[in-house]
Amino acid sequence: MTIMDFQEKYKNRHEIAKQWKKDGKKIFGYFCGYVPEELIGAAGIIPVRILGSLDKVSLADSHIQSFICAFGRSCLDQGLKGTYDYLDGIVVSKTCDIMRNMLGIWSRNIEVPFTFYIGAPSKRTEAARTCLIEEFKLLRSKLEEFTGKSIDDNSINQSIESYNQSRKLLKELYELRAEDNPPLSGSDFYHIVKAGFVTPKKEYNEMLLELKSKLTSSESSDGKGVRLLISGSTFEDVNILKMIEDSGGTVVSDDLCVGSRYFWDLIEPASDPIRALADRYQMRVTCPCKHPSDERLERILDEVKKHRVQGVISIVQKFCDTHLFEYPYMRDLLQENDMPFLYLETEDRLGEEGQFKTRVQAFLEMLR
């Protein structure tokens, strides 16, 4: 089991999914880490996360404006090009304004038999949780209607268990990066996490276990890189991380939607599994779309200490309102905590390398 195997899973995800489809499986796409995949899994459906692509956006431009983030435009563009034709359903949870609009535009233009929008509240109160429980219950019954089979508590609990195992394993791998010589680079870890979005959990957990057993006995890095935390939402181009690492940085921690924010919190088993799911999805480490979102920044400061981070690089999608609103606060907070900070704005990709590379090199130079 090597990083390459994880990379291949993600790279070939559409071909693999089409094969599942031939084998009679149902597949749902979901946007972002606020959709309870466990519930979709419990219905016997394979959930796969819809993410951006590095292909040029062409068809989406006649459906949404160029001032929508590259991620949103790319997802819709892939849908319009038929990349996701194998999907039997799409589930979206309320996070940002782009997500709120996405499902309506998607389903008007791309045929998909099942759609569901979770009107997830933003707050962390008991009243908000009551609402989220209702939303999840409704999703459960719509899924039952769709498959024609009831989803019993037991199957949800089983699903929760295998997702929890994934998260636990990912967290263990993540923690290895706190070591002096992290056995995994930031880009390695990025590939590992992304494979999980498109691989059924049973198979994925086996992959993670095997990787873990090998890692502890493998050669480590030289431990000389500048220790960095990467913050942001999602970006498709791993070359951003590679460039940072090639410039002498070692990514030892992250605050990414496609990183630790996705797997950080486990589901605490409860007698009512829907309640257990709602607890976790409401109280999970916050995305800036939620309110209040200070906890995200507090966690960054914790991670900085735990992983002995020397600098934070924020990689923000252009036009991402929620991250952009928090940027000045995050900058000031890190400054107060004497933590050097570099801000990079991307459109899902590295783009012209020179543009960022000079700034990253200067930043790392300052920290050495």
Binding site: Q65, I68, S122, E135, H291, D321, T322, R331
Partner: protein, 409 residues
């Protein structure tokens, strides 16, 4: 917005009164700190009625941004916000607000808005509001209450979703009591709700007059006359103002007086005006294009069931078509409006500041064209930040649209 309004002489008598209402409000706003009355800053579609019922002075940075834009102050304010690290891609209502705070400047008596003691936000119209208000809360170090929502898209709002919103409105009352010491009084609250409800139904009545061909009221008149509907919702003055306005416009209808002499094409205006260039409306009117309908104005209306005050208010806010309709429902709403208002075309103002409301516009335009053959045009600007505005480009786009409309007559 009042003195420098780019219309000729004020056509409507009541418009004079609007100027007075605005002046009174902003004069009170400038003096409010010396009166020791608590000040709350509110996002749009936030329950201002609760503020009025509890003697809290409401301030609307969004409305303020439209005035700053009209007075040509917004570019400077946006730049000041950017200098502090706020991205130029963020909502310019917010950037304008931040900049005005940093520079402590504004169009009224040269100063910015009175500092808030409380902050109240909703997030169902767009998420940026909650993020913006969080930033304000950190800047002023004052308490913030966000009225959160759990809403569907394009489906009926469920009772638990109404309840969630309504329960928070009750919690907001406790929040205000706690931080200001002002007490809540149900009788007073119901009175405020009644005024708000009356103002809104009068406003809708006025909007209905626009079904008359030719339209008795111009879009600038409609947009500027929204001020009491939003800012003074719950005040008796707003009700009196709209009664007068309604009577004046009804009289114009009865006498067959059009707002624009050569009305040729009747148009729907999708979303916000370009606040620093309201002259676009007279520009279109010269070519016979008159805006006769918009959802933006009516979105702030909606009746309130006063017998269930909190639920009633919640239903008014989260049942708002502009905010919770899916694209399909939006198209249906416009199709109905096209019939009722005898509409020839739709002008979509794609607003770089508002991803939430702009993102579905291409779909709505195409959907309506497919179903009814009614054409639309999309032009893109920022509604408050004029720095990348090209008047020529916008007018070219509108001109081509009028050519299309001409061939269809």
């Amino acid at each position: 917005m009042s003195e420098k309004k780019p219309v000729k002489k004020k056509r409507l008598k009541t418009a004079e009164k609007l100027g007075e209402l605005m002046k009174d409000y902003y004069t009170e706003s400038a003096m409010i700190k010396s009166q020791k009355k608590p000040v709350a800053w509110l996002t749009s579609v936030a329950p201002v009625e609760i503020c009025y019922a509890m003697d809290v002075f409401p301030v609307y940075p969004e409305n303020y941004a439209t005035i700053c834009a009209a007075r040509k102050l917004s570019a400077e304010f946006c730049e000041a916000a950017e200098a502090k690290g706020y991205s130029t891609d963020l909502c310019s209502y917010a950037l304008n607000n931040f900049g005005s705070i940093y520079l402590n400047k504004g169009p009224f008596m040269g100063q910015g808005l009175p500092e808030p003691d409380l902050l109240i936000a909703t997030e169902h119209a767009c998420l940026s509001m909650a993020k913006w208000w969080e930033a304000l809360s950190r800047h002023f170090d004052v308490p913030l209450y966000v009225v959160d929502s759990s809403l569907p898209v394009g489906e009926d709002v469920a009772s638990y979703q109404i309840k969630y919103f309504a329960d928070q409105l009750e919690e907001l009352v406790e929040f205000i009591e706690k931080h200001t010491g002002n007490k809540f009084d149900m009788k007073r609250f119901k009175e405020v709700l009644r005024y708000s409800d009356q103002a809104s139904s009068l406003f809708l009545e006025i909007a209905e007059f626009r079904k008359t061909v030719p339209s008795p009221v111009s879009p600038i008149e409609m947009f500027t006359n929204m001020f009491p509907l939003v800012t003074l919702a719950g005040k008796k003055e707003a009700v009196e103002f709209y009664k007068e306005l309604r009577d004046e416009i009804k009289d114009l209808v009865d006498r067959g007086v059009p707002a624009v002499p050569n009305e040729k094409y009747r148009l729907i205006w999708d979303l916000f005006p370009v606040w620093y260039n309201l002259k676009l409306f007279p520009y279109m009117e010269e070519k016979g294009g008159v805006v006769v309908a918009d959802v933006y104005a009516t979105a702030f209306g909606g009746s309130i069931d006063i017998s269930r005050p909190f639920e009633g208010l919640a239903e008014r806010y989260v049942g708002n078509p502009l905010l919770s309709y899916g694209i399909g429902e939006y198209i249906e709403l416009y199709k109905q409006m096209i019939k009722d208002f005898h509409v020839d075309g739709i002008v979509f103002h794609s607003n770089r500041s508002c991803r939430m409301a702009s993102m579905g516009q291409y779909e709505v335009k195409q959907g309506i064209y497919n179903d009814l053959g009614i054409p639309g045009v999309v032009f893109e600007t920022d509604f408050v930040d004029p720095r990348s505005y090209s008047d020529e480009q916008v007018k070219d786009t509108l001109d081509s649209f009028f050519e299309i409309l001409e061939t269809r007559k």
